[in-house]
Symmetry: C3
Subunit: 132 residues, 3 copies
Amino acid sequence: MIGRFTLRTTARNQLIDVSAPVREFINTSKFHSGLCVVFTPHTTAAITINENADPSVKSDILKKLNESFPQEDGYRHAEGNSDAHIKSSLVGCSETIVVENGDLILGTWQGIYFCEFDGPRQRQYIVKLVGG
Amino acid sequence: MIGRFTLRTTARNQLIDVSAPVREFINTSKFHSGLCVVFTPHTTAAITINENADPSVKSDILKKLNESFPQEDGYRHAEGNSDAHIKSSLVGCSETIVVENGDLILGTWQGIYFCEFDGPRQRQYIVKLVGG
Amino acid sequence: MIGRFTLRTTARNQLIDVSAPVREFINTSKFHSGLCVVFTPHTTAAITINENADPSVKSDILKKLNESFPQEDGYRHAEGNSDAHIKSSLVGCSETIVVENGDLILGTWQGIYFCEFDGPRQRQYIVKLVGG
């Protein structure tokens, strides 16, 4: 089973919790056990798993990434978004999560995040379920 | 097949080789071929694959991560572990390894590591095998 | 299905697009739907997905990684390649890509890259296909 999702980001750098639509897709697919891969087909975005409780974790992650990989840093790429490409490769464009008994095995504080590093834009991600 | 494992870390930052229990789980499961996903359900820990020979590789990795992402850095999150959340998203909370002929396909120098970034604590990881 | 590939890198730090051999392997395997895992068994290399159009994106990624994680930085590991081990754990030694209708689901600008961080060397990577 494969699901295709879109979202609109509203800032240059933003973490958006997509756990709910991923869980809903597993539920409506009646998928019981295996792997769930969440993948984004963009090169200036990423997928990560991190804390879903205190929103300051999200802002701290984005702030530190911006300090470590600033937008202007003597880059050659003319589009002005080399920082976003670097963040994308470091955070990674997918996550693989285990599914058992029809639900994601995530920790109490874990949420799945779409990471925008060059927004605001219309964006996509894919959810693929493989049984086993 | 799914296996659930616990371990106790003994330092704030620590890399612990978990290759042996993962291999033993594949062996006792009589799993022959497919994918092995090692996943940790924590947001201040990670899973990585790196050198299992010279222990100074582990200490160099932790030292440089601490220098790049120090514990105190003007963060808003009040728990004092934003550095651990950032390291978790950069290193990633899972690894996917190929299994053939009943064993992990790892390089000669590759070991699977549980990465503690906010210890010492009791921690968990999951091993999921999907055939193919 | 599993494929084993070799390549020769020509610089200490280098990104080499391996999308074409991965796609060809899927095609000759007549694999229709599931997951494609690209994995490298080295601890000073990595696999990533990033832009395949403007080559300056590749050079910007490598330049910034070198600035953030320089080769000489007071490391204990005597081989002089601790920076490569760190980059390997941050970028990651594998990528998981969805396959549908016999082809990789990649974005328009996405290519799969073998990342050399301690070359030039003879290197390997593995492609594993798991249906579902």
